[in-house]
């Protein structure tokens, strides 16, 4: 695949069309399918619990990485662009973890209010 940032592809329309480079794309596709299949394997063979949820979340992050890095091409962008996307998202994951544990606390305090 040609780099997005340069203009090496701005040749004239009369030029010959180069051959498609789709190897990386299909490889990414098979990784995504395999990860989803593994998720289903765990969903049906393992009892629900913290460990299974952790496995699901890790596999999801892997899938997200492949979609963002390869399909959205972020891996091949400038470093500054990569970080300006990753850092805000990392902060949001922090917020997510914080508020979910807050939810557990809220539940506990409601349930034990009259005890």
């Amino acid at each position: 695949m040609a780099a997005h940032s340069d203009h090496s592809n701005d040749f004239h329309q009369t030029g010959e069309i180069p051959k498609a480079q789709t190897k990386v794309i299909w490889k990414t596709f098979f990784i995504l399918v395999a990860l989803t299949a593994v998720e289903f394997l765990f969903a049906f063979t393992m009892d629900a619990g913290t460990l299974r949820n952790a496995i699901f979340i890790v596999l999801t992050i892997f899938k997200a990485f492949y979609i963002v890095a390869e399909f959205m091409h972020l891996k091949h962008e400038a470093k500054a662009l990569i970080w300006s996307i990753i850092i805000p998202l990392a902060l949001m994951i922090w917020l997510m973890v914080a508020l979910i544990s807050e939810g557990s606390y809220y539940f506990d305090s409601i349930r034990n209010y009259f005890n």
Partner: protein
Amino acid sequence: MSTSTTLEEPKTGTWDGGNEPLKASYGKLMMWFFLLSDAFTFGAFLIVYGLSRHSHLPYTGRPEDFQFSTEWWPIPEKVFNAFPGFHGVDLPLAFVALMTMILILSSVTMVLAVEAGHRMDKNDVQKWLLWTILFGGTFLGCQAWEWTHFITGTDEGMLMADGTRVFGANMVMNQYGPPLFANLFFFITGFHGFHVTVGWILLVIAFISTVNGVYHKRGHYEMVEKIGLYWHFVDLVWVFVFTFFYLI
């Protein structure tokens, strides 16, 4: 004072705006930052989902004995177990697996269209855009079916304390569990479905423009690339919705 107007020379100095630190075009950059803000919105939805779920009682009994109750949060496998054409058959998560596959496939055909655009291969762009439109439309159809089933409910419904039965789901009440469960289902999958619809319309516009040779005359297929970014983002959101709503 001179009154003649001269075309301003483009500034090329490092501190004159000639520098391009992110090495991406304006349009692509803005799409990235829009998607980042959109990720915040979806993140907020998933945060609310996690918080609501943790502030409800989980089901602690054996999964085989599971019954719908407003007392506890439902097990997703027991809610999403229907498949069109297999009425009454317990097929946990089968339909959502199909939907996931369709959306991942549409993402692949989208990236193939972008790749064809880099090569200025108009025919290939058309072909892959058409596949993406097809898969995207199929996904939307699947979601419509999923919603219909969720709203209509199962044959048994949920037995209430006063002996009546509740079937299906709405914003006030649902047979699957606490009212918040259905509300969040409608909001999260609905907001995602809305995004897919918008993306689908953009794809149709891009396809028409490609057929008319608009991008070819322009000399680049960056519009396809930008719509591609959006489309992959929609797929990305689904990956998270799928994990947090259907698996966990």
